[in-house]
Each structure stands twice: as structure tokens, then as C-alpha cells.
Symmetry: D2
Subunit: 345 residues, 4 copies
Amino acid sequence: MIISMKLHATRAEIDAVVERIQEFGYKVHSIEGEERVVIGVVGLGDVTPCLESLEAMPQVDKAVRISAPYKFVSREFRSTKSQIVANGVEIGGDTFVTMAGPCSVESERQIIDTAQFVARHGAQFLRGGAFKPRTSPYDFQGLEEAGLKLLRKAKDETGLGIITEVMSDRDVDLIAEYADILQIGARNMQNFALLKTLGRANRPVMLKRGLSSTIKELLMSAEYIVAHGNPNVILCERGIRTFETETRNTCDITAVAVLNELSHLPVVLDPSHATGRRSLVPALSRAGVAIGADGLIVEVHPCPEKAMSDGAQSLSFPQFAGMMDDLGPYINLWKESRVAALATA
Amino acid sequence: MIISMKLHATRAEIDAVVERIQEFGYKVHSIEGEERVVIGVVGLGDVTPCLESLEAMPQVDKAVRISAPYKFVSREFRSTKSQIVANGVEIGGDTFVTMAGPCSVESERQIIDTAQFVARHGAQFLRGGAFKPRTSPYDFQGLEEAGLKLLRKAKDETGLGIITEVMSDRDVDLIAEYADILQIGARNMQNFALLKTLGRANRPVMLKRGLSSTIKELLMSAEYIVAHGNPNVILCERGIRTFETETRNTCDITAVAVLNELSHLPVVLDPSHATGRRSLVPALSRAGVAIGADGLIVEVHPCPEKAMSDGAQSLSFPQFAGMMDDLGPYINLWKESRVAALATA
Amino acid sequence: MIISMKLHATRAEIDAVVERIQEFGYKVHSIEGEERVVIGVVGLGDVTPCLESLEAMPQVDKAVRISAPYKFVSREFRSTKSQIVANGVEIGGDTFVTMAGPCSVESERQIIDTAQFVARHGAQFLRGGAFKPRTSPYDFQGLEEAGLKLLRKAKDETGLGIITEVMSDRDVDLIAEYADILQIGARNMQNFALLKTLGRANRPVMLKRGLSSTIKELLMSAEYIVAHGNPNVILCERGIRTFETETRNTCDITAVAVLNELSHLPVVLDPSHATGRRSLVPALSRAGVAIGADGLIVEVHPCPEKAMSDGAQSLSFPQFAGMMDDLGPYINLWKESRVAALATA
Amino acid sequence: MIISMKLHATRAEIDAVVERIQEFGYKVHSIEGEERVVIGVVGLGDVTPCLESLEAMPQVDKAVRISAPYKFVSREFRSTKSQIVANGVEIGGDTFVTMAGPCSVESERQIIDTAQFVARHGAQFLRGGAFKPRTSPYDFQGLEEAGLKLLRKAKDETGLGIITEVMSDRDVDLIAEYADILQIGARNMQNFALLKTLGRANRPVMLKRGLSSTIKELLMSAEYIVAHGNPNVILCERGIRTFETETRNTCDITAVAVLNELSHLPVVLDPSHATGRRSLVPALSRAGVAIGADGLIVEVHPCPEKAMSDGAQSLSFPQFAGMMDDLGPYINLWKESRVAALATA
């Protein structure tokens, strides 16, 4: 059950609602927006009496029953798509968003050159890892704070928003100073301590689907962040692990359409990790636009064969430029249908 | 190694080449086309001396080394896409092909009505199973030859080509009398006895990827058919089996792009089995067009809720019509880029 | 619903039961044993009235409701384990059964030597493929009937029973002349045309689980064979396909315990295909005995490094002898608990 | 390359070795044991000259080349099994170790009763979660420090060692005050920030394999902990995620044998999470003993049907007692072969 308070309800009015809920024996989770407070209620059994009682309270705008195990992130809670704003760009609205850049921040030259190039060719965000999750303890682990500073420099020069990965709850505050979007990697999708901390962060979060996580588990992890106070979550399909070895992962592209049915949160596709091979990235990106993703996150490197990580899946500059040209007419079709959908929403 | 003979080489000229190859200790597989004979050579070790010797023979057009384990179906063997003609329609050329119809042929009324409707809305082929592979021995097993006769009737009334499934090598000849394309289901992708028999069939074959078959295994199974004499194979991605349960299978859409890199054979996408849910079929179909599939095979039923099989994934008539309208502009983009590719090939 | 007739019921008595069932609108499947006829009834809705009516008929021994989708193979149908006899050996009883031999029959010397060795070290059955399912059309496809003749020779010299693979419904009769058990490979587990033909064969069948088949699907395929008339089915776990590449397949050993709960059919473990590495075979075999499999099927070759197929997973003669010694005390524990279970059954 | 220093080498002697390595351009990782320092060297190219130069230094005991990507945890580094001591019990030696207890610590009564019961029936460690990773933010998240205090009370009353889960690097120090072994859950196997912190912890760590992690990735994560200073790592197979739904996970039991080949670290099997069904736990436990695991971790609850988590897979007290009796003769066989192996090591 989700209770939406009237605009600008007072603290006393909210407390009265919480008390009423507790009298019925239910547990309360609340999200306080700037204008409106929303209260999530979790409980077993028939909630009808409680629901009716709450609807009768003047400070309550509406009370809705939600059957999915994820509450705040479900379409039942919000029937129209959420728009999430980062660095002035709206994700989930009528702009198709491109996030591009290297796997790792390696040097000032590398990141600035890349930022300038991708900005010129239509990207709105620069991606680049400063803290890197690596399978081997002996592999390059990222430039850490020095890398964050280079990302800021790139932002200053290009105006691009910054998206970069957070690996530990200890780093959330530091990275939030530099980044416009906090990225959570596949291996941390169920790092619940981190998810709870992100609930208190003042930045949007892009949550990548785990290697073998179900769509439902992805939504439950998003619910963790939202239930702990941060409604600005972007979902990301980046390929799952299967028996197929021709590609690095198997892109579950249908998940984009499923997530659009089940949730109001924006969904971004990562064709670079999904394939692991740069030659496949443009074709999969077209499919991502066509199926209705809200954006792409793509690896681009000035010299992929010398990249310190993920070289095989990074596009060179000319390849990125070519792909963006190729995507143009597909993005136009996307925009037409998105504008139409928003108009009727 | 693949040896392509000059046009209209004589039997004696061919035999001389085969003898030469055998002198080098290699094994010979040949495909005899109407105009040109192609000889596949399989052997270990350095083939250079044999290759040079063959190229020196006047009746040999070209001799090429092929490193992939699949030979005839590889891009190394043929660098441009194959076009396969069935019922006068070219698959793999510049026409995007739609195959539509019910999972099973159930009655005359059902199959004729469906054929007329899908023909009016842009389909070139009618699908419908007369021999049905069912997990349970107690489920409906298909109308068998009576079903084939209904398919012919539907073809007579609409002009649509017929694609229907073959489950046993015993049935190949019978079904080939009625069908324009022989469909091999996912569970029979490695039924090698059946594949060998299809090599002798005079109909194109659509080979569906097995539930947990790799892309390479799909190509090896296609190679079986081609190496046994039938070059007209169409590949089909229909979803693989993973841990995800939100959809019936997981569509490995990237496989379409991988197959286009590795093979010259046409590739069709089956969004119905890939998703198992009709609401997801239109979005996935858009993605299939955008990624460069050569066609779609889609389940359509006059009354999905009463279908004897696969009702949940079958589109109703209005849904199919809506989807075909929605796909129009994507198919136009597809056609533009296909025409351009064929022009430069 | 399953109706078991009294011993030696007459044809007229049986027909009367079938008629009664059909009056209730249900579909009938019957298995005719030598002494007793069993009738399977499939139907929707409440079967109580039909059940009560049948139980009142004097020629009916018992009528039981079965909720699982597989009927004849379920524990509901038969609460005690089935024993299946082949070449005088009981599988599923109180003898732990070992089937051993090469992947492929390659030569007289190879198969006779192997048969003699494995017989001396405790095997009851000789395995060896004459018809080989191979991923590549260019790989060795087996000696076919010549291979079957060598298997018979090995049987004549050692007294071992023969188990060998059937790949096509066309070959069932031929192979049944030579083999004591017909083996169905993983890739044919859902070759329904083959399963139906096996239902009419007069030999026990060992059905291997498909690479990505669920336990329930394995039981449904066994049900095909039994429902078509052959109750002598042995199940085989041989590893499933997962993301792990350290082993050829992933042995789902728990499936042995699950199958023992759900079905009365014997279950054999194949540690050779499950691991793909000979060094792992003895340890996994111990686990197979301990978890309660009824037997093992193991690849053994006089010279594994020269085997025409599956060399990496074949045991040498000394390795097989060592493994059988190592298994001895585990098989003793197995026998104790099996004898105790049979006594209380 | 791994360099093992002589016993009680001085700081200056160690520094001289490090300098020599760096002159060759390699990167140094060192583990400082109480008695002996070990230096790991990571680098590309031919290491022979460096190796020979180091072996010539008097303070160096031995220098070995290691080809596996995991170094310290490999059998190349240490050819005999490691024994890890916790609460006076040696894991990886000649005692088969049983860890038993509830999924979550729920109350004093529950945890003390369980501890007393499992201690009486052969367990050496009490398991029980105080910090719980839960898919849903609305599920019971554990008693946290209050739970740890109850675990200590149970230890005081029974003498059992304590194993409990750590979910965040923030909690390592707190939990290390109460626990004898720090358990890392499947979802945190690649939480690299946590792994690094565990490298500085003064407690053994039990690292569970991730839901879709390969055996190699498990070893790489263990390598993180060891390379950061903590050599006391126990590996745990707890089932992987596959398409099969009959069990909660699919137990990759062969992984136990593979890990024993590749690594010297002890390996524990978790039959409770691997199956998700209590009826399967005893059979799988027998298989675990037979294949050569060093121990079991099993869920036991005084009243499984009222458990706050994992009730379906928890054994009741009588079931646990029965299982331990049943395992007795298998553990005896295990011990015989372990004692023999240690004698020849």
C-alpha cells in the first residue's frame, strides 16, 4: 500500500497518518520529496479497512494497493514514466540520452580528448571509471580521487554531465562531489549496504543489472534505494551471463521492454559490456533505440588497442562518430513515438 | 579448404580434382549446384601445397582456405549474403520477410481466416504446425497430414508461401510436397539423422537455434545440411534458455549480428517464442528489424485465448495489424541500408 | 488418473473400462503388460465421480489420482522403485550397476580388450557408440552396423550386456537386435518421433537428460516412452550446460536425489560427460554412489590419448581399475542402505 | 612468480629483494606472516633472469613461477592442503568439520537451543546471521549487534566456534570481535572493497561462490583477500544459478574436486542453499563428504516452519540428528583417506 500525502502537508498531518497505519499493525517506509511526502506501507492480510480509513483523512491525496513485491518503483505506484534530471538533462523524457567515454580514466589527455569528441557527436554524459572493480587484484584498480578530478576538468571544458562508478558505501560522499550520476556496477547490484547508503545520496543512481540477476531482483534492488529515500534511479541492462561464449555477455534486450511494463524508471542499455566486441556495438545500439530504451552507455577510447581495460569493446573516435550518424534516423523515430506517448499520458 | 569449379565443368574434370585432393590425403565433401560444383576439403596440417596444386588446374575457378569449423556456411566461403528463394520470395535480399500464423493448424476456418488476414497486412509466408513437438505426450500433437492439406488450401486462396515444421526424417518427403520452407524446431537442431535427410531435400530449410545451443553449434548444424547437399538454409534465433523466468526464453538478439558477421545465410527472428508474451512481441520485432534480421516469424491467432497451443504469445488480428503498421518506418530504414549494402557488395 | 486392471483381465473387461472412461469425456492411454493392463486417463476437472465409478467395477484392481504432469513414471503411480532387467542384471534393485567402455567402437581389438578389462573389474555392461552424434559433419560418425557386430562379439566373449546409442527412429529395430539397452543421447531427449518409436521397442531404454532440460522435462520425455508402451526406462544425469567452463558440463548431482523423490525409475550417473576431464571422474563417481544413484556409465579406453572421440574424459585401464577399488567401500554402504530400503518397502 | 624468504629474514634483507625485483620492472605484492615473508611478483614476459637472480640471494628460500592468474591460492604456490585454525579447530586437516545453525539469529532461546543441540550431535561451529542480505528491503534484516551478542552467549555455553556473515567493510572490525570465521555471502563475492578490508582482518574468512561466478573468479576473489594480507581463506560451494527450478540453486559439486586440484585452500559445501529443500540436504551432504569436501555448513532451526528466513531448507533437530548418524560411516571413509593423504604429503 502506498499513501500519497497532499502537497505541503504538515509534519503533524504526516505523523497522524503514520500513527493510524501503525494502529493497524503495519510497517511504515516513507519518502519525503521536496513538495510531497509519500508513505509506503508493508503488511500482510487484507489491507482494505486500513486503506479506507486513510482515504478518509483530509491530508491524504490517495492511497493505492500494490501487489508487486517492489512498491515505489512499480507502474502500479506511478503509471507514467519518471523523468530524472542530472546536469540539466532529463532522462526518461523526450530526449534520447547518450553516455560515452572510456572504461577507465587513464590520463588528462585521454579523458579530455574523449570528452570533447563525444560531446561534439551528440553525447550528453561522459562515462569513465576512477574506482575500478577488477576480477584480479593485480589489474589496474583506477586512479581513484585523481581520476575524479580529471573527470571534473573534462566537465568544465565540455559541459557534459559525469557518470562514474561507486564501489563502496565509504566512497559515496566523495564521488557525489564530482559526479552527476552515481553508477553501481553489476557485481554490486545486491550489495545491500551500498544500496542503503545510496538511498541517502543526493545524486541520481544508475543501477546495473547483475550478471545473473533476474529482472525482479533488479527492481527489488532499485526499491532498496528508493525506499531509503532516493527516488532518482535509472536502470541499466548490460547483458547477463549464459553458456554462450561468442559474446562477453548475452544482452537480454527484451528486459528493456519488460522493465518499461513493470516500472516507471528510465532504462539505459549498455551495448559495450553486453557484447564485449566493438564490431557488434552499433547494431545492438540500433536495437536498443528501437525497443524503447531511454539511452545508451557506450565505451569510447582514443586508442582502444592501448586501453588499460575493456579495449576490445571500446569504439574508436571514428567508429563512435559513425555510429551516432547511423543512429540518427532511429532516434528520430524514437522521439516521435515518445512525444506522442507523453502527450497522451 | 573449399574448391569452386569453373561453370559447367565436366564430370571428368571434377573427378580429376577429387583424385588430386585424395592424393594429398584429404577427405572430400561436394555440393553440386545446377551450374557449378563446389568441393569442400577437410584435413589437418598445412594445406598450402594442395591448394597451390589445385589452383594450377584449369577447371578450378578458385580454392580458398577456411579456418572456421563450419566451411560452406561461413563468410570466408562466400563474402556476400545468400538469397534464398521460396514461393517466389527472396529471403536475404532487399525485402524484409514476414512469416505469420498460428502455432498449430486447428481447423479450416482458423487457418484460412488467419492466412487472409496476415496476407492483407504484409506477410509473405503462412506459418502453422501440422506435426507438433509437445513436452507432454498428452498434449495436442497436431492434425498431421490433414493439417498439411489445410495449409495447401490456405496457400491456394492467398498465394502465401507455407512454412511448417518437420519432426522426423520419415516425414521430410511428405511435408516437402506441401511446404515451401521446412522448419526445424529448436529441440531438433542437433537431430543429426534429420539434418542429413534435409541435405537431400529439395526445399529450403529454416533451422531454429536450440534452447541451449551456441551460435557455433547452430552454424555446425547448418553445415550438416549444406554439406549433405542442400545450400538453402535460413537460420532462426528464437531465444535461449537462461535463469530468467519473466520471459519464456531469453532473446539473444546480438546473435543476429554475430551470425551476419560469421555467415552469409539469412537470419530470421522469432519474437513469439523468444518472449512467450504477446505484449512484448511488437517491441522486440522493432529491435529485430533494427539489428538487421532478414525477417520475422510471428504467431498470430484469430482467438489467442482459445488456441490449442502457445496462446499467451500469439497476437490477435488487430494486434498483428497494429504491429505491422508500427514496423513500417523501421522496415523502410532497413530497406534503405540493405539496398545500399547490396549495391556495394 | 491411472487404472490398474486385475491380473489376467479379459479383453472384454478392459474394453468395458475404457468405454466407461470415455463416457465421462476423458482420453485413454493404455499400457499392456504381459500380466496386467494399466490404463492412463487424462482429463480436466473433478475426476472423483469417474474414479468412484471405476473402482466399483470388479475387473479394476485400483484407480489412483495423479497430480504430476507425468503419470506412469511418478512415485504417485508406483511408490516403490522399479527394477529393470537387462541381460539378466537388475537395475534399480540391490546391485550397483557399472556400465563402462569407450565413447566410440573403433576396432575389434579396442572393444574386445576393453570389454575384457572392465568385466574383470566389476562392470556389468559394455558401453560403446556405433552411431555417433557429432557436432561437426566432418567428424568420425561411427562404424554403424559393423560397430554393432563388434559389440556382439565382445558380449559373446565376456557375457557383458551391451548399451549403445540410437539416433534415429529408423535404426531402433536394427540396434535392438544387438543391444540390451538402447541409449538415447542428450541431444535427442526431446526427439518426440524417436521417443514414440522407443515406446514400441522390446528393449529397456536409458534416456539421458538434455543439455538444458529441466528435471520435469526429463520425466515428461520418459513418460512419452512409457505411455507409448515401454515401461522399462532408466534415467541418466550427465551434466547440464551452464556458464562454467572449467568442466565440460555442470553435473546437477542433486537431480539424482530429486528424481528418486519424484519417480520410481532407476537413475544412472554419467561422470565422464558431466566433467569432461578424467581426473575428476573418480571423485564424482564416489559422490554419485553416495547420493543414491543406481549405477554409473563411464568412458574407458585402452589408449585415451588416441581415442577418436572424448579422449580427454576417458579413463585408462589402470585408472578404471583404481577407481573401482576406490568405490568398493562406498558401494558396500550403498548396498546396506538399499537392502534395508527394499526390506521395508 | 612467488618469492618465499628464509625464516626470520630482516627488514633490510627483504627490502633488498624488493629492490632487485623492481629493477627488473616487475610489480611487488607481499604477505608478511609471523615467521616468514612471502613476496608475490606480477609481470609479463620471460621472468627467468629475474628468478635466477633472486635464487642467488642468500635470504631467499625459494622462488617459483606460477602460471595461473591466481598466485597465492594456487597449488603451484603450495602443493599440500592448507589447514586453517579457528576456535582451536583445524579446517582442511583430518577432521571433517560441520557448521550448523539457523539462517538468522532470531532470539536467545532459538540460538542457545540450536547451539546446544548441534554441539551434542557433532557440529564444531555454530552458524547464524546477525546482518542479513535480503532481496527485499521490506524483509527481516537481522538483529545486528544484538544478534552478535546472542552468538557469543551461545559460544560461551557450548564452546562452539562462531561463523557469521559480514555484508559491509564498515562492519568487519565489529563482527571480528564476536566471530571466529567471517562469512562472505554469494552476493558479495566480488565486492572488492570488502575483500580488500578482509585482507587486513585477523580472522579466517569463508568466501561463498557467487551465484554465477566461475571457479576461476572464486579463486581470484580469494586471491584478493590473501594478496591483501590474510592467508586464511576457506572456499564454499553453495550452488549456482541455472535454468533448473526444481531446486533453489544447482549444486556444482564437481567444483569441490576442481578446487581441490587447483588450490590448497579448504572447501566447504553448503547443501542447504544449494538445494533449498530440506528433504534433499542429507543425500547431498553424503555426496559432499564422498567427493572430498573439508566440511559442511547446514541450516538447522528448532521450528523450521516458523523461521524468519530460509525455513524451507532448514533441518529440524531430529532431521539434523538423523543426518549426522547417516553421515557417520561416510565420514569414517573420508577420514581414512585423508589421513593416508596427509601421511604421504
